[in-house]
């Protein structure tokens, strides 16, 4: 099918030549650009400094030391980003030869972005990670142990709360937090008054929690919830509550000291705790999942009287529900006291070598210093990770922070080999009982077996590497 688009004879050859030259140059440019791109996968339009600034080479700073630049990545949380910018300025004033470049990612894509940029050979010298991801990051060989001369194991364990040892793998610490968070009981004081309960007397034991939840629950004539006595959202914080609080409180253990075995099923405690958690929805009927889509929304809007939440919820609660009257109490206890702690920790990647490694170590020392931890509490509202900083009277006595801080000494941070799957398995076990009527024992047995298999696979891989 040949169609003459225009009479070629009419076109002067000079013009044709001109078009050709112009066209070939365009083609060349496009090819160059494409060729340049194909060598590097880029991720989602974040400015990432893959290469070090040329200014590093051989330049001397005011203090006579060679200049060095380190890249620091953390997730996008306005309060954290703002404070970090201030802290970087403070740090650079102390160490004029070091420049710290901060890059941020949206929280829900943090892992994807980081993981997508790393294979492309771009990456930070220091990175802020959720502690539950550390085993994966360490197993992949992406992080290096913290330099022993600045952070000896003895020193870290003397200064930090015991649960920070979740960041200790193969005998070395790979990351340290500036701040930590614990779970506590949030309760709506207005709803307490409405139910003729004393807001100064929050439930302190398992039994009291059930009892109080029943008194707070309000249903309409059709038996539908108007107010949940106790928000029940297993996929939010409750799975953490189970592993790090309930199991320990019932006198059981989470995992073995060598982190190879899941011990929930070793004693009666694991099943008892599992049943206790489920019965809020199944037996006592004081709450149900997805009420107002999730527990936080239900609590925020005054439709849930009590909720197990983390100190990280405080900022959003104040912002979204400024008129909500609520108070905080330690997580209700049983045979033992326990709660869950979690943290975001700063790690040094394998990219940092030589002068960069020294600079990164200096920056990490600064980020874990008492002064910075205090600034962090003020601005971000997370709790100090060091014992002597957190346990100061001004924090312990604080009405809101106090209950979170009081629990730090007996808080646990479960060692996750796969945060996502471990959570999925827990939710699945809960759903089996709730939706399919599978007996508690059977769902629980499956949960233990499946979780154990994750551990076995993880350790099989680790042992193979040795």
């Amino acid at each position: 099918m040949k169609k003459i688009l225009c009479k070629t004879e009419d076109v002067p050859t000079k013009f044709v030549k001109f078009v050709w030259v112009a066209w070939l140059s365009v083609l060349l440019i496009v090819l160059t650009v494409l060729g340049g791109c194909s060598g590097s996968g880029t991720g989602g339009g974040v400015g990432v400094g893959g290469s070090k600034g040329a200014g590093d080479a051989g330049g001397l700073a005011a203090n006579g030391k060679p200049k060095v630049t380190i890249d620091y990545w953390q997730y996008q949380f306005p309060a954290k980003v703002e404070l970090m910018n201030k802290l970087i300025a403070q740090f650079q004033a102390r160490h004029p030869h070091i420049t710290v470049k901060q890059t941020n990612f949206p929280y829900d894509q943090f892992n994807e972005k980081v993981a997508a940029l790393i294979p492309a050979g771009k990456g930070p010298d220091m990175i802020n990670l959720y502690y539950g991801w550390l085993p994966k990051y360490v197993a992949s060989g992406y992080l290096q142990p913290l330099p022993a001369q600045s952070f000896s194991v003895e020193q870290v364990e003397k200064e930090f709360f015991p649960f920070v040892s979740s960041a200790k793998l193969n005998g070395n610490y790979y990351a340290l937090p500036t701040a930590v968070r614990t779970l506590a009981l949030f309760y709506n004081t207005d709803l307490f008054k409405q139910a003729k309960l004393d807001p100064k007397q929050p439930p302190a034991t398992w039994a009291e929690l059930v009892d109080t939840a029943k008194k707070l629950t309000v249903k309409d004539t059709n038996g539908q919830f108007v107010i949940e006595g106790f928000a029940w959202q297993p996929n939010a914080q409750l799975h953490h509550w189970y592993r790090d609080a309930l199991v320990h409180q019932a006198g059981g253990q989470d995992i073995s000291d060598d982190r190879r075995r899941v011990l929930w099923g070793e004693t009666e405690a694991g099943l008892e705790a599992f049943k206790y958690l489920l019965d809020f929805a199944i037996v006592h009927k004081v709450g149900i999942n997805n009420f107002y889509t999730d527990d936080i929304t239900a609590f925020k809007t005054g439709h849930a009287a009590m909720n197990i939440g983390g100190s990280f919820h405080l900022a959003a609660l104040r912002k979204d529900a400024p008129n909500l009257k609520f108070a905080i109490a330690p997580v209700p206890a049983y045979k033992e006291k326990a709660t869950q702690a979690s943290f975001w920790a700063n790690a040094i990647t394998k990219n940092a070598q030589g002068a960069e490694l020294e600079a990164a170590a200096l920056f990490l020392e600064f980020l874990t210093s008492k002064d910075v931890q205090e600034q962090w509490v003020e601005k971000v509202g997370e709790l100090p990770a060091k014992k002597d900083v957190a346990l100061q009277q001004k924090y312990v006595q604080d009405e809101i922070l106090g209950p979170f801080i009081q629990q730090l000494s007996y808080a646990n941070a479960h060692f996750f080999v796969d945060e996502k799957l471990e959570r999925d398995y827990f939710i699945e076990a809960v759903d089996l009982v709730l939706l399919k009527g599978v007996p508690y024992e059977e769902a629980f047995k499956q949960l233990v077996e499946k979780t154990q298999k994750l551990y076995d696979d993880y350790w099989a891989k680790q042992d193979k590497k040795k």
Binding site: T8, Y292, T293
Partner: protein, 294 residues
């Protein structure tokens, strides 16, 4: 320029080289990554590490032993088998109705089309609010004397509710395609059939439907590919739950890749999905594109 390279030939070279640019772009952005995922599918690769170990077919065997993956395949089949016919039937019904009216046609067309251009995430969340245990849907059920349902919290109901949300969003697009198809049918045929005494149903079955065939083929293929790639609504309405009853292949691929960092498995799953889409498209082209004789 070469003397034997005539101006006419130059013109064709020019045209083809113009076409080369989008082709190069397509190759770099689409084709190469696709071929790369075939390659990765035969390797074990943790996204965070630079090591890629060759494992042959291990990823594929692991996937077919993986309950969640098998479940995601069967769910995706439900998405396609319920979603595509549902969307087409409703789209065709609305198109036929709109085709018969003259007044307000544009208004109705716009109303039906708006959901298609609304953000999928926003729509999914609105449905989520309507379908929560204490949402408006249960409220209405109670008011007509029906027991409240688990809806999105139920392993049997959730998938159909997600499909309903997808159909609701896709209906406008479907309607527009059919409307265009209906307007292509010469009035003459319909009038001739009326004179011969064919009633509306007969006219539809014997005239409109056969003549809509090319449009139907297009819709089935595009729709199937769409529903095979169900992701956004599932992600935002149920995240694949409860008990993996709504998880789709694409959502599972996403979780394997970016939540578990298992790029090998994720790539293998992508290749399997690619195979399904290819097979289905070929099958539909063969079945529906037979020569038409009138």
């Amino acid at each position: 320029m070469n003397p034997w390279f005539s101006v006419k030939k130059q013109k064709y070279v020019f045209i083809y080289s113009c076409l080369l640019i989008p082709l190069l772009f397509f190759a770099a952005i689409r084709l190469l990554p696709m071929l790369y995922s075939f390659y990765v599918g035969f390797h074990e690769w943790d996204l965070l590490s630079s090591e890629q170990t060759l494992v042959g077919m291990d990823n594929y065997t692991a996937l077919f032993k993986d309950d969640v993956f098998v479940q995601s395949l069967s769910n995706t089949a439900v998405y396609v088998l319920v979603g595509v016919p549902g969307q087409m039937a409703l789209g065709l019904t609305i198109a036929l109705l709109l085709h018969r009216i003259i007044r307000w046609r544009t208004l109705f067309r716009t109303i039906y089309f708006i959901p298609f251009v609304t953000s999928v995430v926003a729509v999914s969340w609105v449905f989520r609010w309507m379908l929560m245990p204490n949402g408006i849907v249960n409220h209405m059920l109670i008011s007509i004397g029906v027991d409240p349902q688990l809806l999105l919290g139920s392993p049997t109901q959730a998938i159909y509710l997600v499909i309903a949300a997808m159909i609701w969003q896709g209906i406008g697009f479907q309607m527009l395609i059919f409307l265009t198809g209906l307007q292509q049918i010469p009035r003459m045929y319909v009038d001739a059939a009326s004179i011969d005494g064919a009633n509306a149903w007969q006219r539809f079955v014997h005239i409109s439907l056969p003549l809509l065939r090319p449009v139907l083929v297009f819709s089935v293929i595009i729709g199937s590919i769409d529903y095979l790639q169900s992701f956004t609504q599932v992600m935002n309405m149920t995240t694949g739950g409860p008990l993996n009853s709504t998880i789709s292949v694409v959502l599972y691929i996403y979780e394997l890749a970016f939540k578990q960092f298992n790029l090998g498995l994720a790539s293998a799953a992508t290749v399997i999905l690619f195979g399904f889409i290819l097979l289905l498209s070929l099958l539909q082209l063969k079945l529906l594109n037979r020569k038409m004789d009138y």
